[in-house]
Symmetry: C2
Subunit: 350 residues, 2 copies
């Protein structure tokens, strides 16, 4: 009849399943959410019909009725940065184990893009958002588009007092402190740092860790050796070039982000300096292909996967009204010593 013709190549609904087995819609639903009373015989007939008709529940209708989608969103600033991929995968794996699906957004370090994603996810009525904000996203804006959706921050976190239910990252202060102390222990005194944008707590913490290590060695850091980049390769390259070709060339450069470390390495290669003999390089975050580089980069490794997992756990615990682990959760980092750092050449140490 008409109705049948109308949905010729449309999706099959629960109603058609009901018709096929001669039962009511509510019985099918009960069988699907295997609850309530439904006899074994009926259940198997229903399962048969479902298989035969290739029925797939409509999550739009389900979410609408349930006022819950069993899904969370994660938006990261740069999918081409492997660190974030690992965070995403950690979040995905934990979520899957908790029966949540995750929607992925890639803001490319642009608040504009990020806002679009957040808005889109909000309209899709995800149950919560896991956010690594873009650097140009100043605090407080997210709640304007997300309403009172629960948010947990991973890796970066806003300085402004935006409301969120949790935050997970690494102990950035300690990580930078340890890394800097390592350079100091090699004999470096003129140590430069290329750090990220000062609007994220992450960068600020790393910078402070650097300062604290320098202070402990009674060195007052030279302001010209402190550069603020944009967490991408170009800006790492740019600032390293400034440092390497300026009058006050440092003996070591500490980059607080993996892409900037790569940019710095490119600059070193371009200027033709020997690394680590003439310039030591210390980076952040490991790559799966980091050992292919020459020299192999010494880096501070963050447990990216765990950050994603813990963040997802915090978020989902909150969504389900369960108490969760303490926030902020600060995970430990590890200094991976490879070939890009060595003691400075004698001539360089006054």
């Amino acid at each position: 009849m008409r109705l049948k013709a109308k949905r010729a190549n449309q999706h099959v609904t629960i109603r058609e399943v009901a018709q096929a087995v001669g039962a009511s819609v509510s019985t099918i639903s009960a069988a699907l959410n295997n609850s309530d009373y439904v006899s074994a015989k009926m259940r198997s007939r229903i399962e048969g019909a479902i298989r035969q008709l290739r029925y797939r529940p409509n999550d739009l209708a389900r979410g609408l009725r349930l006022q819950k989608t069993h899904s969370i969103a994660i938006v990261v600033p740069d999918l081409s940065n492997n660190f974030y991929i690992e965070v995403v995968r950690g979040a995905k794996d934990y979520s899957a184990s908790a029966n949540y699906t995750v929607l992925i957004g890639d803001s490319r370090e642009s608040w504009e893009e990020e806002r679009n994603y957040l808005d889109s996810f909000h309209r899709r009525r995800v149950d919560g958002v896991l956010r690594i904000p873009a650097i140009d996203a100043l605090g407080g804006k997210a709640s304007a588009v997300l309403g009172n959706l629960p948010v947990v921050y991973a890796d970066r976190h806003p300085l402004a007092r935006d409301s969120y239910v949790g935050r997970v990252g690494v102990d950035n202060h300690k990580a930078a402190d340890t890394a800097t102390r390592y350079l100091l222990s090699l004999g470096h005194r003129k140590i430069a740092i290329i750090t990220g944008d000062a609007s994220t707590g992450t960068s600020v913490d790393r910078l402070h860790g650097f300062f604290s290590a320098m202070r402990s060695a009674k060195i007052r850091p030279d302001r010209s050796l402190i550069h603020t980049g944009h967490n991408d390769m170009e800006s790492g390259h740019f600032h390293a070039m400034q440092l390497l070709t300026g009058g006050q060339r440092p003996t070591a450069i500490f980059c607080t982000n993996n892409l900037m470390a790569l940019g710095a390495l490119a600059a070193v290669q371009e200027v033709g300096l020997a690394c680590p003999e003439e310039i030591s390089l210390l980076g952040f975050d490991d790559f799966y292909w980091a050992t292919l580089l020459r020299p192999r980069l010494t880096v501070v490794r963050q447990p990216a996967r765990e950050v994603g997992m813990i963040a997802a756990r915090m978020l989902i615990d909150h969504i389900e009204g369960r108490p969760s682990i303490a926030t902020p959760a600060l995970l430990p980092t590890k200094l991976i010593v490879r070939d890009s750092c060595s003691p400075p050449k004698k001539a360089q140490v006054r």
Copy 2:
């Protein structure tokens, strides 16, 4: 009253907007989809209320009613491979310009994972799927979970006769042919190839391109120099090790995938051979950090972004019932000559 209390911290609905401006729900809807007759005054009052109440339309309800979500899904085999990120970004950018959102899936080369994603996207009622199948996903399976959702394949495509509305990639035969001819022109005769799984048309085409170039040089390829890997670094490393330490060491290795090229490079470094002097290496796909490697890799570059854009265009054209460009769309590749290939040492050429 009760209703109000119930939705204390829930989402605001179109009904509440209607109440706020003293209009009917249908009028708000008309204003939102700026169509029909709605007076300028009413429109501005509605806009005011929407802003004030922070109303966000519910895309679940919208999609349910419209039987259309204005979204597509893209599932790729490995998000940590930059090639796919570029494809995703291309697809995303085109889709955004056509007012579609895109949902991203990362199958990690596992059909199991891919099926989960496809199923989840299907239940979300995306309007179409852009698929780069996992290598262990044999043909024909996708339609079982996707029903008659339109699918377009990008990059890889199944050999089995699965139904799809389009396919876009590069001219793999020609790309491999050109690359191989380049090695031949340098004087190589013992050329090895590490190719991808034979179940994808892509790998088969590349292998055939290799054969055709070899044939044109009247060389019958040595079977022991033909290896089939898994498109990841480990397998590139493994097969390169076999080739480099075996009795029949080639003078050049052609890897038909970027990750396998990296693995091969690692193997070369490990064995301690000089590249390109003792062994030439030719890869597929470019990385943004490819120039940081030593030697800098010579590769076949694919227009990844364009692949994503064209694929999205094909899919969306189909969804909207528009005629689209011819399928399969085969885009040109480009050989990027850098430092990893050189003429073989005299001693090696018998």
